[in-house]
Symmetry: C2
Subunit: 486 residues, 2 copies
Amino acid sequence: MSEDKLTPRSENFSEWYNELVLKAELADYSPVRGCMVVRPYGWTLWENIQQALDRRFKETGHVNAAFPLFIPMSFLEKEKEHVEGFSPELAVVTHGGGEKLEEPLVVRPTSETIIGYMYSKWVKSWRDLPILINQWGNVVRWEMRTKLFLRTAEFYWQEGHTAHATEEEAREETLRMLNVYADFAINEGAVPVIKGIKSETEKFAGAVMSTTIEAMMGDTKALQSGTSHYLGQNFARAFDIQFTNRNNELEYAYTTSWGLSTRFIGAIIMTHGDDKGLILPPRLAPIQVVIVPIYKNTEEKARVMEATDRIFRELKAAGIRLKVDDREEVTPGFKFNDWELRGVPLRMEIGPKDVEKNAVALARRDRPAKDPQTGASTKLFVSQENLAATVSQMLADIQQSLLERATAFRDANIHDPKDYEELKQVVQNGWAFSYWCESKECEAKVKEETKASTRCIPLEGQPSEPGKCIVCGTEAKRKVYFAKAY
Amino acid sequence: MSEDKLTPRSENFSEWYNELVLKAELADYSPVRGCMVVRPYGWTLWENIQQALDRRFKETGHVNAAFPLFIPMSFLEKEKEHVEGFSPELAVVTHGGGEKLEEPLVVRPTSETIIGYMYSKWVKSWRDLPILINQWGNVVRWEMRTKLFLRTAEFYWQEGHTAHATEEEAREETLRMLNVYADFAINEGAVPVIKGIKSETEKFAGAVMSTTIEAMMGDTKALQSGTSHYLGQNFARAFDIQFTNRNNELEYAYTTSWGLSTRFIGAIIMTHGDDKGLILPPRLAPIQVVIVPIYKNTEEKARVMEATDRIFRELKAAGIRLKVDDREEVTPGFKFNDWELRGVPLRMEIGPKDVEKNAVALARRDRPAKDPQTGASTKLFVSQENLAATVSQMLADIQQSLLERATAFRDANIHDPKDYEELKQVVQNGWAFSYWCESKECEAKVKEETKASTRCIPLEGQPSEPGKCIVCGTEAKRKVYFAKAY
């Protein structure tokens, strides 16, 4: 548990993050440089993320499968941009079963190549299309400067890989999955993301077009939280995914890929957390409600635990994820801090007086313990009658309030600088939403001089009129977000 | 789909298996030697296995987590028997991020070592115990003679790793998880397994005691289908998992590990399948019911499809996993064969006459299409009234009947040879259940002369009296199963 105090978020955001991940027992460093251990509390959060996404994938017609961890080095080399993008990050297996391998194997950094190879075996005719497969698994991209969940050599994700008979269908799929990600992020994670298109510089190695959901963290930096790529016929040509179309002509398929990773746990931590620790959105929280029974003697204990057990069973039957903290060796105050650190959305206290009044006390994690004006406790005393309904409603309120708060924070920190000088200032502590001519030169100049990169050209909220590039002043069709990013 | 005919199981069991896995689209060979691709139909079966097991793990107090894919070579060397057991099978990463690594990393063949290292960081006091963690993931054991699901370099599994304050608790956990596996295998997979203890020769590298569930395949060979190991203090000593016990003394923890893999898919195929293809147990089948609508013209089609859609919705709402095969380009006969190959437990046919009679026709996959005596069709005509209940009951009957058939087959092929000569004969086509003195010499002799190994000393069904070793004739306390194995 948390014996030392957590560095407040307001004091040092980066330290706060690093300490919090460890203290809340979400993850730990491993003896293998760059690799993380995801501890049970963090993994349960990931399992809830997986379920929320997997349901959406299946509803949109996708199925899961599993492709090999190892990819022959020669496969990566078949798509020129792809290998250039990934080769600095590869982990390479050179020996197997005590012998040197004829061809080195790469531990997959992503699976377009090996899946492309298999699709070329499976696809013969337009009748075999579309193929709509997703894979849950681990990937490796060599990385020495570890930041748990955000930057690790091995991480966990899902990667969807689809093949289609027409460009139109594949482009539709790319946007469909971008929308699935945005819906998930907003409605499950309470993370208000912006959907948009990546610049040529920022796009996936081998894609024709990359789309992204971008989120603003509590320090105003951007976090790319999920991406969906239209790959055109690039990988189909490299791996010979050909099919006979309806006119009986041989054609290359059109493919997409899309992924969301354990990085999203970082997005949740940095979007909602505060000085006291995590605040987890109720829909994804491993524990939605923690019950702390409070008593002074065995007589009180008997009465309190009877009510606690009854309420536990009632809420559990209603599908609420909850836990009773019945530790004897620590005080209620210690428990309050502990579960606040771990971000449990709702704390329920049950004491002898509550039992007497047929009530419980509820403390919302997203509200301060005391009213900032009056100094009065913000605890809510509610009846035990219809408690499951009361609690479910409050969890829904917390979910909604987290989303609103994060949206307000984001909007307050997106600026519309009037010129390049102002842009240089605003991106130090926020995002700039500005016209950009879409040239690599202007993008590079901003990055060089401010460390802010282009995050995305948003799909929604573009002005109807063209304007002037904020960097070079030439005509610009669309606006882009500039921001420092994780 | 299946254009070429499947080699009948009765003709060549091994060919039948290899062809069936491919034709039913459970899995495919990959371009990486030794690695498999698990296709969506196979992966959905695995997902159902995962859910059935994961529920049992959580009910017994376990939580999931994730540990690194890579293990420093030096870790494996810390447990002498462990490294000896696994070193011939290792895949080794020597390069990362373009540079040679200081210490080679092994792609995990199993995770006792790296998890042991982390437990040593997490465990300080008896209050931190037990730790009850499971991990779902992939492991690699170098293997060139691929047999899909049964023998591949990369495979998927779960590995539980627990640490306890006392030997008694750890031994209890070992047996608890063995019982979980047996319950799963019997009640979900309809695979009648025998629980027992592995011989010293056959036990896990580094264990004090290994327990196993052993199943008899359709060719009478044995398949080890899941194992649970009591590791004593071996790994705790190697990785310094020490805790302060209740008497304030420093002590090494007692650990266990247990695993069940995608091999179990092989067990399902080889336990239940027949000449026509797979027969999947309803509780795990990706598709429990396939509806084949039958019509000759558009007028019939309209009526039949109206009933089909209605029944589909009704059964789906009742939680039945089902599919409508509405392909226009193939005949009903083709569809029947196709779904029989894929082992869907129940086929429902809906034609114009059925619609008229408010009925449907049901064909059970576990019954021949025609009565062997009378030659009459075995299809059942049932009312559309309460169809979900009728179907659910029939699926439960099929589940039960598969288990009974497999149990009867197994029992008919377990022999009690009167002497060593007879043992040598019976293990050619079955199992021998015989007294054994538990010496390595007698075990080795049997293996050398018959290719049968000791499968397990069963925990149940031992005679009350000691006897004479079937090989050497000296006193033997217990009986063991001898069988050829996968």
